[in-house]
Amino acid sequence: MSRETLINIALAAILLAVPIWAHFADEPFIITLSTKVAILALAGVGLNLALGLGGLVSFGHAAYFGIGGYAMGILASHAQDYTPFMEWPFVIEGTNQMPIIWLVAVVMSGLAALAIGALSLRTSGIFFIMITLAFGQMFYYFAISWTAYGGEDGVSIYVRNEFPGLNTLDAIQFFALAFTALMLALIFSSRIAKSRFGLALTAARQAEQRVETVGIKPFQLRLTVFVISGMITGLAGALMADLNRFVSPVMLSWQTSGEIMIFVILGGVARLFGPVAGAAMFILMEHILGGFSEFWHGWLGLVLLLIVLFARGGLIGVLAGKEKADG
């Protein structure tokens, strides 16, 4: 077992143990924070597929995060008001069932990623970064002006949605859902990395022309991984909306895209557990630094800067050294 695998197992164990301890110690807020770490890490796992495996620096993943969020907000608000989502040509009712909401979130964000990816993948480098940003901003401004669902005010849901057999209002049970989703996504993404598809992507990232000469079309590979990446981030968005029982255009803003990217880079690009380490570190710093200084963002910046300058490969890179679990 490599050192990185050990670290990964330890990370997963800590993320599971802390909220269980908090549950028995009656510290519900710590469970909420742990749930947030799991969900943000899930969004990062999504982005990491595009960023780490595909080499696609997307600065617009907030779009999928927000679409997932709005899928929850829209369906649940209709269920809350007992009004149908649409009546023509056929009736679609709202719902408060998480599995259905998740399915819609994943499909919708996948479709958006397909359209955006198909157009954006014609460019590369900084132009790709910027065109994904542009599409993200379009969704952001669209949501702001979409008054049917609150515009800038967003949509607030009074009671968390339901999952068959669980009481989602109980913090620890909702955490269990988020944690399971994160673990499944991690397993899925490590499978992808090791599959022929993943190997071809890695090859296309490192030597595009060589891949083309053996008859593989990098465009299709990249589009596929971009869509999968968007779907996972979309699922995270739906969970995040349910954690907050609230969704607003902020989820679609470029700052959100930047934050998801920070989790990934902080933890280690292309490292399987990079986003988990990154999200945990971010939330931890927010609450530790926020406790003793009003200007904690500045200290956060300093820590980030030191990590980039002197700890290349992110947290996992520092802890596990250069080898990669998936390489």
């Binding site: 909420t32 029982r245 609230f246 902020v250």
Partner: protein, 382 residues
């Protein structure tokens, strides 16, 4: 017999008063407000107004916890979770913006926490979505623009240029005005929320030939527009709800604002004892004139202090009744709660003046509406 009754009454009084003095721990009030970014000044007004009421009462019955929301709904939600789950606050208050309020209040009140809004009154929480633990101590969003419509009718405006940011509160402010205004709208312009440059809109106003400009641009937006309008050479009269012309805006826009009429439920010159104590105390404590934000936060704190005289938040039903009774002296004069826990109060029109010492402030001109009830109260089943 008489003696016995007296003794019983006395012991009942003692028992009622007992917890208030005996139980050592104060009740916790969590305040989430905007203390950073371009609107940081508004949060400071809310915080200072609330604190002044506590200081004047000299009571340690309330432990106040203040946190910044940076005007971001996701931050507000996260802070609210922390206050409810970790600090275990009894009452929450402080939010300035409708969108943040809608993210926090519906969840908070359903977890059994009381929420008292010192600013922002979205219609979603006044009508069908009203809740027994939610109290609005400021106004329902539609009230001041509706009163502005009445003012425009009496001022004789026939053709008015309307402008507000493109978000729900902005649209409410336009719709509320149009509900009561009998003249024409020369144009309706929705600007980007947080917009700082209004050159394009000012050019449209110049070209529109309107009698007057009605606008809702709170905080930094109002300052930027006011300064640029003054430099544009356009002399169309301006008016609207107080948000674009209040004490946080006037010092920055300067003399060009003199004479502007605006509608409000409170003004620093309102003649009542509570208001005198507030305005003088505020100036002494902070060295500046209070804004309406501060007046609303001051009222909120006094509402809580008044209710605490008869009940504790631990007994939710009793405390709710005590809040509903609104047993305090409001700085705006008459104050009572309607069926939807929103204020019933008078609305005034005031105008910007320059005092002898050079300070710009607002002065009441006339009362526009007596005992105004908001137009969503009828939809609230409570």
């Amino acid at each position: 017999m008489k003696l016995k009754t007296l003794a019983l009454a006395a012991s009942a009084t003692l028992m009622a008063a007992g917890p208030a003095f005996a139980a050592g721990h104060a009740i916790k009030v969590g305040m989430i407000t905007t203390l950073s970014g371009s609107a940081a000044g508004l949060g400071a007004e809310i915080r200072d107004g609330f604190q002044l009421a506590l200081d004047q009462a000299g009571s340690d019955a309330i432990e106040l916890i203040v946190k910044d929301d940076a005007r971001k709904p996701d931050v507000a939600v996260s802070v609210a979770d922390e206050m409810i789950q970790s600090d275990k606050v009894d009452i929450m208050t402080g939010i300035i913006w409708s969108n943040l309020l809608l993210a926090v209040a519906p969840n908070a009140v359903r977890q059994g926490t009381f929420y008292l809004s010192p600013n922002a009154g979205p219609s979603a929480l006044a009508g069908k979505g009203c809740h027994e633990n939610y109290f609005n101590v400021s106004w329902q969003n539609d009230m001041l623009p509706e009163a502005s419509g009445e003012y425009a009718n009496t001022a004789g405006y026939k053709n008015v240029f309307l402008m507000a940011p493109n978000y729900p509160a902005g649209k409410d402010m336009v719709a509320g005005f149009q509900r009561t205004f009998k003249g024409e709208s020369a144009a309706v312009v929705f600007t980007k929320l947080g917009q700082k440059d209004y050159a394009a809109e000012i050019a449209q106003i110049r070209a529109s030939g309107a009698d007057a400009v009605y606008y809702f641009l709170p905080g930094g937006m109002g300052i930027a527009f006011g300064k640029q309008f003054a430099q544009s050479g356009v002399d169309t009269p301006r008016f609207g709800p107080v948000f674009s012309f209040d004490q946080t805006i006037l010092p920055a826009v300067g003399d060009s604002a003199i004479g502007i009429h605006n509608t409000t439920q409170w003004s620093n010159g309102l003649n009542n004892a509570a208001n005198k104590k507030f305005v003088e105390g505020y100036q002494a404590a902070y060295g500046r004139l209070p804004s309406f934000y501060a007046s609303q936060a001051y009222d909120t704190a006094n509402l809580i202090l008044g209710a605490l005289k008869t009940a504790k938040p631990a007994d939710k039903d009793a405390f709710r009744e005590a809040l509903r009774a609104a047993n305090f002296d409001s700085v705006r004069g008459d104050f009572s709660f309607g069926n939807n826990h929103h204020p019933i109060h008078d609305i005034y029109v005031q105008k910007v003046v320059k005092r002898d010492d050079g300070t710009l402030t607002n002065e009441v001109v006339a009362k526009v509406v007596d005992d105004m009830v908001d137009s969503h109260a009828a939809n609230c089943k409570m």
